[in-house]
């Protein structure tokens, strides 16, 4: 059963709580050149391209934080996780993969050079985001149609 590989329900809330600060940090780091000075270490990944051995890991922290929070949101069990919810889950995952492929092709045609790099950067999140949006939307619609009865 799929339930065995899902996280317990409480991680969903933790995911939502973590998502906002980490995504804010990611945007701040990318567009406002914000960085934590305590995350600066001596570390050379490719020796001395710019001659500065210090490397700041704010970007890495923000990216990993966003990945983990999206993971927690997407793959925590629902309060009542049953076979129908699991079907919705799998349908949404499939749809997310389809849309991701489509966006990938479109982006490859439209962007190049640094624009393409930036596009691919955002594209890392599309599967998780589309999955979460579609799954939540269907559950929400279901709830609403049931309340209307």
């Amino acid at each position: 059963m799929l339930t065995k590989i899902l996280l317990s329900h409480r991680y969903q809330l933790i995911g939502w709580i973590l998502f906002l600060p980490f995504s804010t940090l990611l945007f701040a780091e990318n567009y406002l050149s914000f960085s934590f000075s305590w995350l600066e270490f001596e570390f050379s990944r490719e020796d001395g391209l710019f001659g500065n051995p210090m490397e700041n890991f704010t970007n890495e922290l923000a990216l990993i934080g966003v990945f983990i929070s999206l993971f927690l949101i997407a793959f925590s069990r629902e309060k009542e996780e049953d076979e129908y919810i699991q079907k919705l889950r799998l349908d949404s995952l499939l749809l997310a993969c389809y849309v991701n492929t489509f966006i990938l092709i479109l982006g490859t045609l439209l962007f190049y050079s640094f624009g393409y790099l930036e596009f691919m950067g955002y594209n890392m999140f599309t599967i998780q985001l589309i999955f979460i949006a579609r799954f939540r939307w269907v559950l929400y619609k279901q709830q609403k149609s049931m309340l209307a009865l």
């Binding site: 049953d82 076979e83 129908y84 919810i85 279901q142 049931m146």
Partner: protein
């Protein structure tokens, strides 16, 4: 592949006979109310296990509740 409307069911009728709500039935077969709602609406075809559980609650045979649509 089974499409959404290949199977019809009489869950709603059976529920009415027993004076049960969707929530009552859902609780007895340990699924969410959404699931029962979707099965009744013909939007979801339940697994064999769930179908058997539902039939047992109503005390009737499986085929009295679930039938293939004509033309299959």
């Amino acid at each position: 592949m089974l499409s959404d409307s290949d199977m019809r069911n009489t869950i709603k009728v059976e529920r009415a006979k027993k004076d049960m709500t969707q929530q009552d039935l859902a609780d007895q077969v340990s699924v969410s109310r959404q699931t029962i709602n979707s099965i009744e609406a013909g939007k979801y075809v339940p697994s064999t296990v769930l179908a058997l559980k539902i039939a047992r609650i109503f005390g009737v045979g499986l085929e009295e509740i679930f039938q293939l649509e004509e033309g299959d």
